[in-house]
Symmetry: C2
Subunit: 423 residues, 2 copies
């Protein structure tokens, strides 16, 4: 007997036919003797419809009322799944955030889970009643409905798995796992059997959209074994494939040999800004970033090139959506900072190699720079973390760069040499 949390996203519950397939998968887990909690999203398209209503009601809608409106989507799905399960003879009931309750902060529309009272859920589950939990929602101290931000149902599932001390948390979605890179770019991308929390965090935040970043961080903290699976295919068969997201220790125990690099990600959401002729003296550069920090602008990559004399160029990246705001702030601070020109470029892409293996292989970045140089791809900026190296390039070269790196690190499904892979 195991205690498991299953989570089904919007495409997996889009319509009654798919909800019936979900119910069949849940029934199988119950028949296997497991205690089951299921977290469901709104049917795909439903949250967009409800958000559209709110925007139509008022562009600057009240966030607490937004939560009152949009949380209804998950409510509907949880009730429907419970109806289907009961009609199949499986004991089940729906649970809303306020019924469990799932306590959150009162930052409406973007709340964080503070605690989950599991007593009633555990009692129900141990009597073999499936708990069908509406994802994405909780309740504030003042007793109003809150939501966790888009994609929040992943967080609901992981937080619930942690609170229930579940043996695993299965995230069913419309892909069958986490890939070495985007299969739409590299046809020979491989599904990963196992990936560490840390790698998943880097892969998620640089563009792989399988899991909400926050939920991965939460799973890492609580050591919750996560599995990403496809909800499609025959519900009477065990789902094929899947990716386990676990701790590094567990990876080491289970994998004899492992690639140094786990995956290649890319992200086109950032723009590059270059300030020329910044005085090369203490505090001048700090001035730039404190101005941006005051405006809550997240600066990602930073490169400083010093010339002969007493001036320097400073290059950095910011979210594209905030680019005009950034240029405005810089213009206003021009005298204070003392730069000559502010140049912008929003045709850039950040390409990253991710892998815990690089900790023990210092030469890994050199391979990246070398592979890109051979293809004539210019590197505009570099950042590194313990398990990631990111480079900023002209976005026209995105697909080429991803394919070249995928091959260079031996990630291709059939491992052909670079020349053939990119032909």
């Amino acid at each position: 007997m195991a205690r498991i949390v299953m989570k089904f996203g919007g495409t997996s519950v889009a319509g009654l036919e798919r909800i019936r397939n979900v119910a069949r998968r849940v029934q199988k887990e119950v028949e296997d003797g497991n205690e089951v909690a299921v977290v469901v999203s709104a049917m795909s398209g439903e949250t967009d419809r409800l958000v559209g209503f709110c925007r139509e009601a008022a562009p600057l809608y009240d966030p607490a009322e937004y939560d009152a409106v949009v949380s209804s989507g998950e409510q509907v799905t949880s009730g429907l799944l419970a109806i289907v399960l009961k009609s199949m003879g499986v004991k089940a009931r729906s649970w809303f955030g306020w019924q469990i309750p799932i306590h959150t902060t009162d930052a409406y529309a973007n709340s964080r889970i503070e605690s989950i009272d599991t007593e009633r859920l555990i009692k129900a589950m141990s009597s073999k009643e499936v708990a069908v939990v509406a994802g994405f929602q909780g309740v504030s101290d003042e007793g109003r409905v809150t939501t966790l931000g888009r994609g929040g149902s992943d967080t609901s599932a992981v937080a619930l798995a942690a609170a229930l001390d579940a043996d695993r948390c299965d995230i069913y979605t419309d892909v069958d796992g986490v890939y070495t890179t985007d299969p739409r770019i590299v046809s020979r991308a491989r599904r990963l059997d196992r990936v560490t929390y840390e790698e998943m965090l880097e892969l998620a935040s640089v563009g792989a959209k399988v899991l909400q970043t926050r939920s991965v961080g939460l799973a890492m903290k609580a050591k919750t074994r996560l599995r990403v699976l496809s909800s499609f295919g025959d519900p009477d068969l065990s789902p094929e494939g899947g990716t386990l997201i676990v701790s590094e220790d567990e990876i080491k125990e289970n994998t004899m040999e492992r690639q140094i690099i786990t995956g290649i990600a890319y992200d086109k959401s950032e723009a590059k800004v270059t300030l020329t002729g910044v005085p090369d003296k203490p505090g001048a550069v700090a001035q730039i970033f404190s101005l941006l920090a005051d405006a809550n602008i997240h600066v990602d990559m930073i490169v400083q090139i010093a010339y002969e004399g007493h001036i320097t160029d400073v290059t950095f990246t910011v979210p594209k959506a905030q680019l005009s705001q950034v240029l405005d702030i810089l213009e206003k601070g021009k005298e204070k900072i003392g730069f000559q020109k502010a140049l912008k470029n929003d045709n850039v892409c950040k390409v990253s190699i991710v892998g815990v293996g690089m900790r023990s292989h210092p030469g890994v970045a050199a391979t990246m720079f070398d592979a890109l140089a051979k293809r004539g791809i210019n590197i505009l900026a570099i950042t590194t973390s313990e398990i990631k190296v990111s480079v900023l390039i002209d976005d026209a070269y995105t697909e080429l760069a991803v394919r070249v790196l995928h091959t260079a690190y031996g990630l291709d499904a059939d491992n052909k040499p670079v020349e053939e892979a990119i032909a």
Copy 2:
């Protein structure tokens, strides 16, 4: 300053444009210095959509889960109206049944309100915050969402008005009041300025679909002043027309002269059953109706015609929807009852005259029978109450009968003689 409850039905909140009109009406009441609670239905079509999901999920859906699903419609409307009000600078917040809370029985899908905790609502309303209440829903003792049955938002509004000791309860709908009869049949039907609770109950239960019957009974018990108004038209002007539903005393105080008959209603939902050759002895007829009562069949009109000898014919009406069930029950009890034949007729219509004035005018039924006889309309059965006379006729004569009676009792807008009115 008055404390008022406003209720808006599905057509009145069908889409953001209409919700904005509703908000404007609410704003006017606030500007007039009133404390306001607004009860809203789901957008028109929304409850049907959600009920459709439940039926598709399982024909015999779990009623508690049905409530979890369908209650979401009112949740959405209350949130959206609160958003619009706040964007107009009117203090407002949405309230769901469980938040107030509105305590109900646990008869899911058809619950009854037991009590309403008004403390928090009153506190909010007295600080000039409009309470936007999701209609149709409450919460059971075990903390699950309940619903009050179709049309239940009227009941929510009246119960809330009673609990808040409101000065009045305004029911906004897609008609501008209660009419002397169906205006689609009689073009000269008149809107009634005032009608008593008792009359409204009879009018509602015999076919006028303006208000849910239960809500009228509740208003009568709590002596809540009800007003039926149209939500259409210019929201910046006071709504024209409207019908007040009040106690008989208030009617007497306000009306010098009054028609004996207040309105004419009709109802095609019943079928007639005749059992021939029933033994004319004590207990035989009782046998019939106890069998039907055991099956929870509501029998309305009953006529017994005794012949020479020891047999009798018994005629009665039952809901059309239950006709085949009724015939089945009778067939199984044939020997026990001892009748010869069971004849059915589902082409019948019940036409009723309603009015508190008939208490003091004993000849009122004779006028009805006479007017129908003159037009050659055969009466198949008769029932009476203190303020109502109903006749069962061939449904082909429905429109004719309603028009004839409307004229005979002087209800026509321009009060022309019968002959002209039905020409």
